[in-house]
Amino acid sequence: MLTFTIRRLILAVPTLLFISLVIFLLLELAPGDPMAQVPLTVPPEVKEKMRMALGLGEPVHIRFWKWLVQFFWIEPQVLVDHIFGTTFSQGDLRVISWQTRSPVMDIVVQRLPQTLSVVGTAYIVAILIALPIGIYSAYRQYSWFDQLGTFVSMVGFSVPPFFSGVLVIVIFSVQLGWFPSIYDTTLVVNSWESFVKQLQQMVMPVMVLALQITAQLSRFMRASMLDNLNQDYVRTARAKGLGEYVVVMVHVLRNSMIPVVTVIALGIPSIFGGAIITEQVFKVNGIGQLLIGAIQANDLPMVQTLTFIFAVLIVMFNLIADVLYGILDPRIRYD
């Protein structure tokens, strides 16, 4: 298992390098010009100097190398400096955003908590809802509860977040006035009232995100439970005289959780992608909105870094899912 993990970790490095190259070349091929915003009165030779100052004068491979060094060598040093108060990174050039002229990672770190709190809560809520629904639907297959659950998960699967989000805004904040339609990130939680306010503004984005995740997870949970409920060991457990609760909740559930756990791990990065739309609907200024803004402003370093962070998340959680599967299921032996 350990050798497998190490092998996968080593294999992840060329994958990530290749992905970063693809992202870099995609942005490189694009016909956008970062100098498009500069006034026309600026003479061309000054423009050329500005272009040089942004580092655009170098050939492609040198710029790619410089970006790699900045991202993988200098930024971790900044992180270490920040944690331990050392001065490794002093004087080094970091990845600078063309929009704000400040380091990209600083902005990302500022935006991350908003995304994480909304996405993380949504994911936990979704798991808490999806697992019981999946278990009970499978246990009472073709009952009215199962039919209803299947239908609701199909609907949750099909309604895109930009519609469900807008719909809940129309119903709950326009018609009923229960929740605010805009997520206020400046809110500081220091008293009971502000806590209630924070809860209120989180309800709608979390529900919209959770609906989608619940739909997928409960389908998986149901299918996995159904696979296990007809196995021989379940009959053995019943024949031994074990209670129905123990049979279902201990014997069957533990075995059914194996694929579901990996699906949960695999779903995390795609949730960050899905949060791009939800953040836009509820005006949460998280990473997704940062990406949209950066794309619209032609801020290539920011776009490149953010897209690459998404790629790192995907590769990382794929690895985690594989390793988890091996640990949870002794029948799987990778070596």
Binding site: L27, V159, V303, A311
Partner: protein, 330 residues
Amino acid sequence: MTEAAKDQPVQHSSVQTEPASPPRSQWHDIWVQFKSHRGALFGACLFLVIVLGVVVGPFVYWNDAKFVPTGRDFIKLRDMRPIYHILWDSGAKMDWAYPLGTDNLGRDTLARLMFGGRVSLAVGMAAMILALILGSLIGVMAGYFKKLDGLLMRLTDLFLALPLLPMILVAAVLFREALSKSIGPEGGVFVLIVCLIGITSWMPTARIVRGDVLAIKEREFVLAARSIGTKPSNIITRHILPNVMSPIMVSATLGIATAIITESALSFLGFGFPPDFPTWGRLLNDAVDRMTLFPERVVWPGILISLTVLSVNYLGDGLRDALDPRIRGR
């Protein structure tokens, strides 16, 4: 003695008799299984209705989607409410000639919904076909030719590890200008979006097709075909492709659903078609700013997107059950 027992001796004799029931074809079996899936039948009907309404609708319907009234007509025709508003608000500004009302420029909502549906469905189908061709090609190549297998599957893994939505957004912005100049604003965006969705959604099809091809390649009929000297290209097109049609068809239906959602998401985020060119996602996006006053403009395109995707998903579910011989007849 029952009827069946009386017939028994006849069947044992060497005399050829008429079988009790006519032989059933494979497609008949599939249809019987498909019919028994109520959701799938409902989804197929709904999808057909939506497609028909979107394709035939503009020929029957009297208002033009692109007509923008000017002068006094503009004041008179803009911000019309849907006709069902009269049920609870007798003073609402409505006209029987505009069943779903008009938008803030006086354009008819129903006509725009039909026109937008044409675009959304066309994008969905075209992107699905592109993804299917790419996916089947790569899947068959990887499954049939052992030399290409490793390389093509690593490529598939790499594509699966790419952050697709952010990259689609980036590419949609970066290449829009260039394509618009060469093909025209609407055609350019259409080609761009179809290509982007197609290129980023072939991976599941390729994986499934590869798995099936690997299994079918070892069967006797392929060996027989090879032993009489059939060329690989003919083996693939005549013997292997017809046998992997069912997973391809299932991923085709599901592919339409994801393509429509991706296109709408792009249009919703403002990275899709130009503003005067309606698609369902674009209509939804345009209406969000004034949804407190005119919620119906948000609700209708949203319902249409959701219903289309729901019907296609149910259709795919039913097809998967019907085309799988292990489930069929159970």
